[in-house]
Amino acid sequence: MSKKTKKKENIFRTLARWFVRVFFGLKYEEKWFLKKDKNDADEDRVPDDSEFIVSPAKQAFHNYLERKFAVVAFLVVILMFLIVFIVPLFMTKYSDSYTEVTLKNLPPNLTMMSVPSELKGDIKMIDSYGPFSVGLSNSGKVYIWGCKKLGASGMDVNIPDEYKNIPMAMVAAGVDHVIAIGEDGHIYGWGSDRFGQYGRSENSVTSPTIEAMPEEIYENGVDVAHVKKLTCGYQATAILMDDGTLYVWGNKQTYSNMDFFIGRTDIYDIDFTLNYIVALDMKQNGIVTGTRGLYDVARNKIGQKGVKMFEFLGDRKIVEITATTSSICLLLDDGTIALTGDFVTDSIEVPTLAQGEKFVDIKAGNYHYTGVTNLGNVYSFGGDHYYQAEAPSNLTGVAKVFTGSFQSYAVDANGDFIDAWGFRGFPLGSDDVGANILERIIAGGRITMTVGAVAVIIEILIGVTLGCISGYYGGWVDILIMRIAEVFSSLPTIPIMLILTSLIAQMSMTTNQRLFMIMVVLGILGWPGFASITRAQILVARESEYVTAAQAMGVREGRIAFKHILPNIISVILVSMTLSFAAAMQTETGLSFLGFGVNYPQPSWGNMLTKASNATAAKNFWWQWVFTSGILIFVGVCINTIGDTIRDVLDPQYGNEK
C-alpha cells in the first residue's frame, strides 16, 4: 500500500485500528482501515491467509464471551461508569457541600411523606420539624410517620403505649420530640428529653443551659379551650394562650433569646426559626426577638430588596407569623403577605396572586411555605431542595394545608387527604451532615473512578513508552530505565503518597487542581509495573519473524518498536490496565479514607467511609458505610474478574484445560 493512497493517520485512528485488530482480527483491520481507496490496484486480489485465521485476540474474545460471570462483570462496570458520569448531570439539586442539620444520620427510609391510611380521611393537623411527622385525627388519635428511630440519639419517637388511648387536642413535633395537649388539658411529651424538651427531669431543672417545662403546666396542664397555639422548635416548645400568656421551654443553647420570652403575657403569635424564637406582641407592628435589628426589614417577594419594617407596614397590622429555619412569613391584616429573613439560593419565588385573591392559611416547613388562598388555590414557595415548594397545579377543593419539615400536604374541608408533595426520605440514609448518601455515592463514584482511570492512563503513558524504549533498544538505556523502575517500585506506595499529598495540601491549589495532582502522583508511582511488562513482551516480540522482516526492509527502529511491536502486545497491557485500575481506585479510597486524598466536601468512596473507623458510629449508623463499602467491593470484584478472565482467555492453553 502506497503512502499516498492511505488516509492520514492520527492517534485516534491508530487506536481504533489497534482495537479492531485486537477484537476483530487482521481481516477487518485491512477491510476497514487500509482499503479505503477504491481505486487501489489490488482491490480484487485473492483474499490472503489472514481471512482464514482467527487472530489470537479474536479467539480470546470468543472465549471471554463464554464466561457468563465475566460478561456480567464487564457489563456492570460499564453500567457503573455510565451511572456515575451521566446521573450527576441530572442531579441538579446536588451540591458537594450541602448540609442539613435536621436530617443528620438518618437510616434509609422512604416514608417521610406517607400519611398513614387511617389518618387520611380524618386529618385535624400535621406538624413536623425534622425527619418524622406527627399527625392528629379529629378523634384525637396521634399518628407518627417518617424516621421513627432517630439516628442522632437513637431515640424512638413512636407514641408510648400509655398515651395511645388518650384523646389529644393538639400536637406538635420538634426535631427529636413530640408534645401533645390532651383533651383534659394535660401536656404529654415523648421522644428525647436530654435538653429538657419535655417533663421536669433533674437534669433539665438544674442545668443552666436548659429551661425546664414550667411547673404549673407540668402539674396542672393548661386550659385546652384557650390554647391559641402549640408550636415546637429545634429542641424547644412554646404554648401560647388566648390571653397572651406564653409558656416556653427547651434547649437554651439553640434558642439563646429564650430568657426574653419566659413569663411574657403580651404575646400575640409565636414561632421558632432555627436559632431564634420569633414572636408578635400585642402591638402587632413588628417581630419581637429580644435582639435589636433582627428581622426588621420586610419585603413582598424573595428577590426584592427589603425596607424597614415600620415603613413597610405603614398602618397595617400583622395578624399571623409563621417561620422556617431562617425566614418568617407575615400575614397582614389587608390579606397580603410579607417576608423577612434569609432564603436559600434555590428558592421558588412567591406567586403573584390574582386581583382579590389572598392567602387564608399559610404554613411553614423548614425552608418552604405552602399557602391556600380564598379561591382554593394552593401555592408553595421558598426553599426547593427536595421539590417541596413545587405545588401541583391541579388541586381542587383544598381547604387547609399542612407542612412537614420538607413536605406539604393538602387537605379538604372534611379533613380528607388530597395530595402531598416534597421529600420522601433518603433511600440509602443520610450522613453526619444530613446529605443524601445515594447522591454522594454517585458523585463520589465519579471522582473515584476518574482518579482511577486517569491515574492508570498516566501509568500506561509513562510505563509503556519507557518499557518500549527499554525493551527495544536494550543496552545502557535498558539498564538505566529498569534501575529507575526498580527504585520506584521499591518505594512503599501508601507512605510516599501520604507525604506527597500532604505536600500538595501545603500548596495553594483549587480542589480540582489538587485532584489532578493526586492522579498524577498515583500515576507516577505506578508506572514500573507497565514498564516491565511491556519490556518483557518486547523482548519476546523482538525475536519474532515479523520484526526481523521489518528490520530487513529498513524500517526505522522507533517505528518498529511503536508501530509493529506495540499493537501486538496491547492485549497484555489490557490485562494489566484493568488490574491497575482496581488498584489505583483502592489506593485513592485508602488515601481519602485517611484524609489525605480527596477531602470533604468533595465526595469519594474513600472519604465517605472515614467516619466508620469509629466503632460506635460504625455500629449505630451502619448505613453510612455498608452501602459505600458494598459498592466499592462490588466494583473491585467486577474489575478484577474482568482482568483475571482476560488473562485466562489470552493464555494459549485456555482451551486445553477442560
Binding site: V487, I496, I499, G590, S613, S629
Partner: protein, 347 residues
Amino acid sequence: MGRYIAKRCLYILVVFAILTFLLFSLYRLMPANRAYTDARAELQALKNSLSASERETKFDELYLKYQRLYGTDTDDTVILYLRWLGLYPFYDGKCNGIFQGNFGFSYEYNAPVIEVIGPHLRNSMLIGLVSEIFILAITIPLGIKCAVRKNTPFDRGVQAFSLIGFSTPSFIIYILFILLFSSILGWFPVSGMKTPGSDYQGMKKVLDTLWHIALPTICLIFSGLAYNIRITRASMLDALGLDCIRTARAKGLSRKAVIYSHAWRNALIPLVSVFVGSFFSIIGGAIFMESMFGFKGMGLLLFSSTKTADYDLIMFIQVIFVFIGLVANLVIDLCYGIVDPRVRISK
C-alpha cells in the same frame, strides 16, 4: 557471592543518596521555618520594654542566631543536604548530621527523632514478623491445595474468597473486624496498646499487651491472606504445568514428592519476591491498621507526624522507608539465589 553483595550495597548507597536528596529537596518546598518560629517565640518571651525598631533589630539578631544554629543560613539545597548528612560544617565549624548521629529533633514529641522512632520500629517489626509467619503458614498449604485440586468446589470456594478479599480495601476489613470482635462480641479492645490507666507489671503487662495487639494482628493476617493465596495458587499452577513435573510423574514418584519437592520448589521462585515484599511492607507501615487500632508502629507515626507537620520526623521516617525498600530488593535478590540454583548472581 560476597562480591555481588558488595556491588549491590554500593548500588543501594548511590540510589539511597539520590532518593534522599530528591526527598530533601521536596521537603524544602514545605512552608516550615523553624528558625523563624523559634526567634518569634523567644522575642515574645522577652519583656515588652523594647520599642518597635529595637524589636525589629532584636528579631533579626535572634533569627540569624537560630538560622545558624539549625544550619539554615543558606539557600543552597546541596549545602543544606550535606549538612543534614553531616558532611558539611555548620556556621560554628562543626559537622552535625546523620553521620554524627544527629537524626533530627521531633518538636511534637520533644525528643530526638531516633528515640521516637525506636519503639515504633520495634513494634512494627514484631507485628510484621508474627503476622507474616501466620500468613505463610496459612496461604502456602492452602494455595498448594487449591492448585492441586483445581476447579473442585474447594478451590472455587477459596478462589471466590480470595477474589473478594483481594478487591476489598484493607480498611473495610478492619472496620468489619472491629465491629464484629470489639463492638458486638466484645472479645478484644477497640484500640490502644494497653488498658487505659493501668499500670501492670511483669506477666500481667505482657498478657495485657497481647490482648490488645491480638485483633490488629488477626486483621493484618486476614487482609494479607487473599492476595497471597491468589499468587501462590497461580504460581503453583504454572509449576504443575512444567514438563519436569510430567517427567516426575511418569517416573512414578509419589504424589507427595511430585507436589512438595518438585513442583513447589519451582513455584517458590516467583513467590519469593511477594513474600519478602509483603513482610517489608508491613514494617514500612501497615498504615490503615495502625491508624485504626492506635497501634504504635511506623505507619501511625508517619500518619500523625504528617498531620502535625513534624518535618524532621517525617524526613527520617521517609529515609527509613526508602532504606527498607532498597534492602527488601537486595533480600529478594539474595533469596532468588537461594531458591533458584539457575540464578548465577555471582557473575
